[in-house]
């Protein structure tokens, strides 16, 4: 039993962290609200770095990395609230496509709905769409679908409802469905861990600087205890995410249970972190000009996406009770 990442894993993670700090500051997330199509250089830089095609086999130019490696990187995309379908593309699609072609480096983008829905996140910048159907997963190109934009509470998500008007090719059957779903749920859990971290960090920073009654508000126990609770939830969600990633990579028969434990816990942790962050910020956090809501809303939608905490705990319950 050795539960730690290698120095290589961590160096890759640090490189992604640095890249996102540069290419995806909060201003880029904010800009994504008012824009259709891709913004900033983060996506292509992640593609060049090999992150987007990391799961693809080496034969087709990928890095053949497993989820245990990828979740560390996805956690960073959560920290940045990267407004791109990185989980859908890098964790879900790359595990299905035999030859990802131009999707390998993100020149073309794949997105996916959760479960059998046809609402696609980041639809306006996607070239290919995964469709989860009974017993199979199909892939449709942009020319074979029509997209009708729909509202999202998170304006950076650019949701659209898809209607298939042309052909789609089957890219997965049988167990592929559950495996793809588990990768999507776990990749989302990793992002939720990152979002929790970001919101806790933002709030610690604010509570240290903001003074009332002549002292930093972070010196008050009421504020400290809220933040301690958020930090606690994060502390105990993260190991479950890493463990589930290992289970996926090693084909553990209990993978679905492990993924559900991770997603349920990460969803709850991010929901709590958001609630605490907003409360401890006070009115400034409630204003649209302040960045917190960018992370808060992402946390809300991802906490519910790919199965919310109740759904995942129910899946655990079906296995253990």
């Amino acid at each position: 039993m050795r539960f730690a990442f290698t120095d290589d894993h961590l160096a890759f993670r640090d490189a992604v962290r640095d890249l996102l700090a540069k290419e995806c500051p909060a201003s880029v997330v904010r800009d994504a609200w008012g824009h259709d199509g891709r913004l900033g250089a983060a996506w292509s830089a992640l593609g060049e770095m090999g992150v987007l095609g990391a799961m693809a086999s080496e034969d087709v130019g990928g890095l053949a990395l497993g989820m245990a490696h990828l979740v560390l990187l996805l956690e960073e995309t959560g920290v940045a609230a990267l407004p791109e379908p990185v989980v859908e593309h890098a964790a879900v699609a790359m595990g299905l496509l035999v030859d990802p072609g131009r999707a390998l480096d993100g020149t073309e983008t794949v997105t996916a709905p959760f479960q059998h829905d046809t609402v696609m996140p980041y639809a306006d910048r996607a070239d290919h769409f995964l469709l989860f159907e009974d017993g199979r997963i199909r892939l449709a190109g942009r020319g074979d679908v029509t997209l009708e934009p729909c509202e999202s509470v998170d304006g950076a998500r650019h949701l659209a409802r898809l209607t298939l008007t042309g052909d789609a090719s089957t890219v997965g059957t049988g167990d592929d469905l559950e495996h793809a779903f588990d990768r999507g749920a776990l990749g989302t859990a990793a992002q939720l861990v990152g979002l929790s971290r970001r919101m806790v960090d933002l709030t610690v920073e604010h509570a240290t600087e903001r003074r009332q009654f002549g002292v930093p508000i972070g010196s008050f126990q009421a504020v400290k205890h809220h933040l301690a609770d958020a930090r606690l939830a994060l502390e105990f969600a993260r190991p479950l995410v890493y463990r589930a990633a290992w289970s996926i990579d090693s084909g553990d028969p209990d993978t679905a249970v492990h993924v559900s434990m991770a997603k349920a816990t990460a969803s709850d942790a991010a929901t709590l972190a958001g609630r605490v962050a907003l409360q401890c910020h006070g009115a400034i956090g409630y204003s649209f000009e302040y960045d917190l809501h960018l992370f808060l809303k992402r946390a809300w939608v991802l906490a519910a996406a790919w199965g919310d905490a109740d759904w995942h705990r129910d899946r655990v319950g079906r296995a253990i009770l």
């Binding site: 539960f3 245990a68 240290t208 002292v215 972070g218 126990q221 890493y242 129910d314 009770l321």
Partner: protein, 379 residues
């Protein structure tokens, strides 16, 4: 990363399991009563004779030199087999790490083997009537007796767990009367049969005589029973608090076993329960698992040479509140039957409720998390 147990870890687990399944006593009375304590000592000595009492200690002191990971495996198997709470825990898990870190070779050789074999039974003498969460408010004092080559201890300790049944006390005393707060304290080891010691047991919430107050009146302690440097007791003691809050006192095995019993209880009674309780049962099971994996992550880091610092406060809050939730859910499943429950859930609940209080209240722990993990300002 390799989340499978190695062959040798697996063999260790099987060896633990085989012995524990054959030897763990059934139906022991509470170890927090005088007669129950005596029964528990028989069990502790059986553990020692089979070299399971202190697996992580070196062979020369009665251990097996087990790694931290193997120790966790032992704990999982111990509680899985239904092993009772260790009445020797305060010596083995709280004092011993300090003796290993700060004791002289002479002290180690004298103290550790008798602790392992449950011949000497140690209780913790920290809290005082006016020093609880604010431990640095200790008023019990140590006066220098140069002629006799030692110290004279006076004052009162209280909330001393199983103090009425133990033979020795480890505690902090103010050795420099001019120093304040955490300065000028010294860590002493005190035999409870020394002249001038009076121990009075008293009942806990559950009625057991699990508490004691210890009065000291000019009790002589030789220099050889000072642990660490004179006046440095605070920093010496902090090594033990890390162990207490953290995983050594309450390893995941205990809560995995409790969560697993809760799952069994749901299978038995769930059909008649409010369906919302199902989510609570699953949540408890997941949380116990989260503690287990968080611990593996921590132990891997510690094996790599990192120290466990203020993070132990995260652990303490988590396991203590998990324990309360597990028992609350169990009692809800039992409904009115909980009143006359003979399966141990009510007794366990009473004990679980002490978790957020002892070893530093969870309010204090949350302050530590906020200040030392998150870096928020102290004032």
């Amino acid at each position: 990363m390799d989340l499978t147990f190695t062959d040798s870890e697996q063999r260790f687990r099987e060896e633990c399991r085989t012995w524990l399944e054959a030897n763990v006593p059934r139906g022991l009375p509470s170890g927090d009563t005088r007669e129950g304590f005596a029964r528990h000592l028989e069990w502790e000595r059986a553990l020692f004779d089979a070299r399971w009492a202190v697996v992580s200690w070196p062979d020369e002191y009665g251990g097996r030199g087990a790694s931290a990971m193997e120790w966790l495996i032992f704990e999982e198997e111990y509680y899985r087999a239904g092993g009772p709470q260790r009445v020797t825990q305060n010596g083995i898990f709280l004092l011993a790490p300090t003796v290993f870190a700060f004791g002289t070779k002479e002290q180690q050789d004298r103290i550790l083997p008798r602790m392992a074999s449950a011949e000497d039974l140690w209780c913790q003498g920290w809290s005082e009537p006016n020093a609880g969460s604010d431990l640095a408010g200790i008023q019990s004092r140590a006066a220098r007796d140069q002629a006799a080559g030692g110290w004279r201890l006076s004052g009162q300790k209280t909330w001393t767990t199983r103090g009425a049944f133990c033979t020795h006390l480890f505690g902090l005393f103010r050795s420099d009367p001019d120093a304040e707060r955490h300065r000028g304290l010294t860590y002493f080891l005190v035999p409870l049969d020394a002249p001038g010691v009076t121990v009075r047991g008293f009942g806990r919430l559950d009625g057991d005589e699990g508490f004691a107050e210890v009065f000291l009146d000019e009790v002589f302690v030789p220099d050889s029973d000072v642990l660490g440097e004179v006046h440095q007791g605070w920093s010496v003691a902090m090594a033990t608090t890390g162990a207490e809050r953290g995983l050594t006192l309450r390893s995941p095995g205990r809560f995995m076993a409790a969560a697993s019993r809760l799952v069994d209880l749901w299978r038995d009674r769930g059909a008649d329960a409010d369906p919302r309780r199902r989510d609570e049962v699953v949540r408890a099971y997941i949380d116990a698992d989260a503690y287990r994996w968080q611990t593996f992550l921590t132990v891997t880091r510690m094996t790599g040479g990192e120290e466990m610092g203020a993070e132990s406060s995260l652990t303490k809050v988590f396991w203590s509140e998990l324990d309360v939730r597990i028992h609350e859910t169990a009692l809800a499943l039992l409904g009115a039957d909980a009143e006359r429950d003979d399966t141990g859930w009510m007794k366990g609940y009473e004990f679980a409720l002490s978790g957020p209080i002892y070893a530093g209240t969870n309010e204090i722990q949350r302050n530590v998390i906020a200040e030392r993990v998150l870096g928020l300002p102290r004032r």
